[in-house]
C-alpha cells in the first residue's frame, strides 16, 4: 500500500469506529472502549509510518496530496475532498493521535463506572476523525468541515453529562462562541474565493501577490476571528472555562492539547496571508498579548483546579498566537510551544483527573492539600508538567516559551519592548498561579472532607500520565536540537531566511531575567499559600474580585449581547404578531366589518328588495336619459 492511501484511512478509521459504536448502541457496551482505543492507536501507527516515510524523502517532496473525490463543483468554485499531508500537518497528526491514544487509554479506567462509556469513546473517536480532517484538508473548505466537526465533538463531550442543566448550557455556549468564529472562517473563505477564485491553500498562496492590501487584511482579520473562536482567544474566550464541564480526559485532549490549538494551526497554515499584511499581524499580536495576560490573571483566582488549568491553557495559547503574529520564525516557535504544551498541559489535566478520581470528583483546591503522600505518581507527573510550563531548563517549556519571549523582545521598535515585557509578565504570573495550584493541591495540610479517602489511580491512568511527563521533560530538547522543528517546518512557513532582527538583549541574559521573574512568582505563591483557608476569603482587593469573576467577561457578554439579544428576539416576535400579521389581519377585519355593515341591507323583506330593484331601475333609466341628452 502506498502512503497516499493511508492518509484517507487516518480519518476513515476513527470516523467508522465512531459511527459503528453509536449505531450499535448497547450491543457494543462491553467492547466499545477497547475497540475505540485500538482504532486510535492504529491511527497513531499510521501517522508514525507516514512520518518515517516523509522523513526519508527529500525536503521538497515531503508534501503529499490525496484527492479523494469531487466534492463541490459549481461554476468557478471547484473544491475536491482532498487531503494534504505535509511537514506541518504531520506534526499535528502525531500530536493528535499520540496524545489522543494516551487519553483513550486513560479514559478506559477514568470512565469505568460511567454506563455511557461506549458513547464517550464514540465521541472521542469522532473528535479524532474531525481533528485529523481539520489538519489534513488541503483547502479552507475541507478544513471548515473538520473545524465544525471538532466543534460538534466538543459540544457533545462538554455536554456529556447534560442531565445537569449547567453542563448542557456550557456545551451550548461553547458551540455558539465557536459559531461566531465560524462566521469569520466562512467570510475568509468567501473573500478567498472572490479574490483568487480558489479556496485551496496553494491557490490562495499563489494569488496573494496580486491581491489588494485591503483584501489581504480582510482575509487575515477574518481568519483571526475564526482562530479566536476556536482557540478561546480574546474576545471570544469566555466559553473555555465553562467547557470544563466535560469529563476531564476531554479537557485534556480537546480543551488543552488539540482542538483549542486549531486556531494557531489556522494562522500558521495561512502564514502567506499574514506575511503579506503587517496590520493583520499586528492584530494577531494584540489578540495574543491580551489573551495571555487575561488568561493568566484569571488563573490566579480560580479555586477549581480544572478552571485554573483552563485559564492557563487560554494564556498559553495566547503565547502561541502572539508568536504566530511575529513573522516567519514565530510560526515555528508557535508550533513548538503548541507541541510541548500539548504534552505538559495534557499531562497536568490528566493529573487533575487523577486527583479527582481519588477524591470523589472534588475539584475545589481548597479541599485538597498534602495529596503528594497519597498520590505520589500523580504528584510527580504533575510536578514535571509544572516545571515544563514554568520554563525551567531543561524542561520542554524552556525551549518553547523562552524563544517566544525572546522573539517578542527582538521585534523592532517600542512594540518589541511592550510585547516582550507583557510576555515576561505573563511568565511571572504563570509561575504564580501554577505554583498556587501545585501548593494547594499536593502540599500543605490535608483539607479534604472526612468521607474522602485519597488513593493513587490505577496503572491504566498513571501510565499515560507518565508518558506525557516524559514528553514534558524531553520534547522541547528533542524538537529544538539543531533546530529540528524549525528546519522541518521551513518549507511550509518559510522560516529559513529570517532572523533579520538583531537580539535586543543577549539570549543568556534574557533567560536569566525570565527565570528571575518566574522564581519571584513561585516564591510569592509559596509564601502566600502556606496557609489555605477552607473557603475563599471575602475581603480581597478589587483585582482579585475581578479575576474571580473572570474579569467580568460573562457579565459583559450578558449585558452587551444576551440581554439586548433576548429583548430583540421578543420584540421581533411581538412585532410580527402585532404589526406584520396585524396588518394582514387588519385587512381581513376591514373586509368583514364592511360586509357586516352591508349585510344589514339584506333584511329578508321581499318588498325592500323590490324597492332597491326599482330604485336601481330608475337610476338606470335616469342615466340613459341623461346620456341621451
Amino acid at each position: 500500500m502506498n502512503n497516499t492511501n493511508l492518509i484517507g484511512l487516518l480519518i476513515a478509521l476513527p470516523l467508522f469506529s465512531a459511527g459503528l459504536l453509536l449505531l450499535l448502541g448497547k450491543a457494543a457496551n462491553s467492547w466499545g472502549h477497547i475497540f475505540a482505543t485500538l482504532i486510535s492507536i492504529s491511527t497513531f501507527v499510521i501517522g508514525l509510518l507516514e512520518f518515517l516515510a516523509m522523513h526519508k524523502r527529500a525536503n521538497e517532496n515531503r508534501a503529499l496530496t490525496d484527492h479523494l473525490f469531487e466534492w463541490v463543483h459549481v461554476g468557478g468554485l471547484q473544491v475536491d475532498a482532498a487531503l494534504l499531508l505535509d511537514q506541518l500537518s504531520i506534526a499535528f497528526v502525531l500530536l493528535i493521535t499520540g496524545v489522543g491514544s494516551l487519553i483513550h487509554i486513560y479514559s478506559i479506567a477514568y470512565m469505568e463506572h460511567d454506563h455511557d462509556r461506549r458513547r464517550f469513546f464514540a465521541y472521542l473517536n469522532l473528535f479524532i476523525a474531525a481533528m485529523l480532517l481539520l489538519v489534513l484538508g488541503n483547502s479552507y473548505l475541507n478544513l471548515y468541515v473538520g473545524w465544525e466537526g471538532v466543534g460538534l465533538a466538543s459540544y457533545l463531550l462538554i455536554g456529556f453529562w447534560n442531565q445537569r442543566p449547567a453542563y448542557a448550557t456550557a456545551a451550548r455556549k461553547a458551540f455558539i462562541a465557536n459559531r461566531v468564529g465560524d462566521v469569520g472562517l466562512s467570510l475568509a473563505i468567501m473573500i478567498a474565493f472572490t479574490q483568487f477564485g480558489s479556496v485551496t491553500f496553494d491557490g490562495v498562496k499563489a494569488g496573494i501577490p496580486h491581491a489588494s492590501s485591503a483584501a489581504i487584511l480582510g482575509l487575515g482579520a477574518m481568519l483571526l476571528l475564526a482562530a479566536t473562536g476556536k482557540s478561546a482567544q480574546f474576545p471570544l474566550q469566555s466559553w473555555l472555562g465553562d467547557a470544563m464541564a466535560g469529563p476531564t480526559p476531554v479537557s485534556a485532549l480537546i480543551h488543552a492539547a488539540t482542538m483549542v490549538t486549531a486556531g494557531v494551526y489556522l494562522i500558521v497554515r495561512s502564514n502567506f496571508v499574514f506575511d503579506a499584511s503587517s496590520i493583520a499581524r499586528t492584530l494577531v499580536v494584540i489578540v495574543g498579548v491580551i489573551t495571555l495576560l487575561f488568561g493568566a490573571i484569571i488563573g490566579t483566582a480560580k479555586d477549581d483546579i480544572k478552571k485554573a488549568l483552563a485559564a492557563s491553557t487560554m494564556s498559553q495559547i495566547g503565547y502561541m498566537v502572539l508568536a504566530s503574529g511575529l513573522g516567519p520564525i514565530g510560526y515555528a516557535f508557535a508550533i513548538m510551544h503548541l507541541l510541548t504544551h500539548g504534552f505538559f498541559k495534557a499531562g497536568m489535566f490528566l493529573g487533575a483527573g487523577s486527583v479527582m478520581h481519588g477524591t470523589n470528583d472534588q475539584v475545589d483546591m481548597r479541599k485538597f492539600g498534602n495529596l503528594r503522600k497519597y498520590m505520589p505518581i500523580t504528584a510527580i507527573t504533575f510536578g514535571l508538567g509544572y516545571l515544563a510550563i514554568l520554563g525551567v531548563p531543561p524542561f520542554a517549556g524552556f525551549y518553547s516559551k523562552d524563544k517566544i519571549i525572546a522573539t517578542a523582545f527582538n521585534t523592532t521598535g517600542t512594540t518589541g519592548v511592550i510585547i516582550g515585557l507583557a510576555a515576561l509578565l505573563g511568565a511571572g504570573i504563570t509561575a504564580f498561579y501554577m505554583t498556587r495550584v501545585i501548593v494547594m493541591t499536593f502540599a500543605g495540610k490535608a483539607r479534604w472532607e472526612d468521607e474522602v479517602h485519597p488513593h493513587e489511580s490505577p496503572a491504566l491512568m498513571w501510565i499515560p500520565m507518565a508518558i506525557l511527563a516524559i514528553g514534558s521533560i524531553s520534547a522541547g530538547f528533542l524538537l529544538s536540537w539543531g533546530g529540528a522543528l524549525v528546519n522541518w517546518l521551513a518549507p511550509v512557513v518559510n522560516s529559513t531566511h529570517l532572523a533579520e532582527n538583531k537580539d535586543r538583549i543577549s539570549p543568556i541574559l534574557l533567560t536569566l531575567i525570565t527565570l528571575g521573574v518566574v522564581l519571584f512568582g513561585v516564591i510569592w505563591a509559596v509564601i502566600k499559600y502556606r496557609e489555605v483557608p477552607e473557603s475563599a476569603p471575602e475581603k480581597v482587593s478589587i483585582f482579585t474580585r475581578a479575576a474571580r469573576k473572570d474579569l467580568y467577561q460573562d457579565a459583559f457578554n450578558e449585558a452587551v449581547l444576551m440581554k439586548p439579544g433576548n429583548q430583540l428576539v421578543l420584540t421581533v416576535d411581538e412585532i410580527d404578531q402585532k404589526v406584520v400579521d396585524g396588518a394582514v389581519n387588519g385587512v381581513g377585519k376591514m373586509v368583514s366589518g364592511l360586509s357586516f355593515g352591508i349585510r344589514k341591507i339584506q333584511n329578508g323583506y321581499v318588498r325592500s328588495y323590490a324597492l332597491v330593484m326599482s330604485v336601481g331601475l330608475l337610476m338606470l333609466l335616469l342615466a340613459v336619459w341623461l346620456v341621451k341628452l
Binding site: 333584511n603 329578508g604 323583506y605 321581499v606 318588498r607 323590490a610 324597492l611 326599482s614
Partner: protein, 99 residues
C-alpha cells in the same frame, strides 16, 4: 288617437303595480300588483306593435300572458301552501330563509 295616451296609461298601471308590490304585505295583492305590471307591459307592447305595423309586439304580449299564467299556477300554489302551514298570507312572515 295620440299614441302617447296609451303609453301614459301603461306607465300609470306599471307604477300602480310597483307601488302595490312595495306597499302591500298580503301575498295575493302583491301577486295581483305583479299581474298589473305585466299587463302594463303588454299594453305598451301592443301599442308599439300597432304604431310600427309589425306583429312582434303582439307575439311578445302573448308570451307575457303565457308566462303570467305559469306564474299564477306556481305562485298561487306556493302562497296557498304557505297559508296552509303558517296560517298567514303576509310576505313578511315568510322569512325562514333569512336565518
Amino acid at each position: 288617437m295620440d299614441i302617447s295616451n296609451y303609453l301614459y296609461l301603461s306607465a300609470i298601471l306599471f307604477t300602480i303595480g310597483i307601488a302595490g308590490v312595495l306597499i302591500r304585505r298580503n301575498a295575493i295583492i302583491v301577486f295581483m300588483s305583479i299581474e298589473l305590471m305585466l299587463n302594463a307591459a303588454n299594453l305598451a307592447f301592443v301599442t308599439f306593435s300597432r304604431t310600427n305595423g309589425g306583429l312582434d309586439g303582439q307575439v311578445a304580449s302573448f308570451f307575457t300572458m303565457v308566462i303570467a299564467a305559469c306564474e299564477v299556477v306556481v305562485g298561487l300554489a306556493i302562497i296557498v301552501t304557505i297559508y296552509r302551514t303558517r296560517r298567514s298570507a303576509s310576505v313578511d312572515d315568510a322569512s325562514l330563509l333569512k336565518r
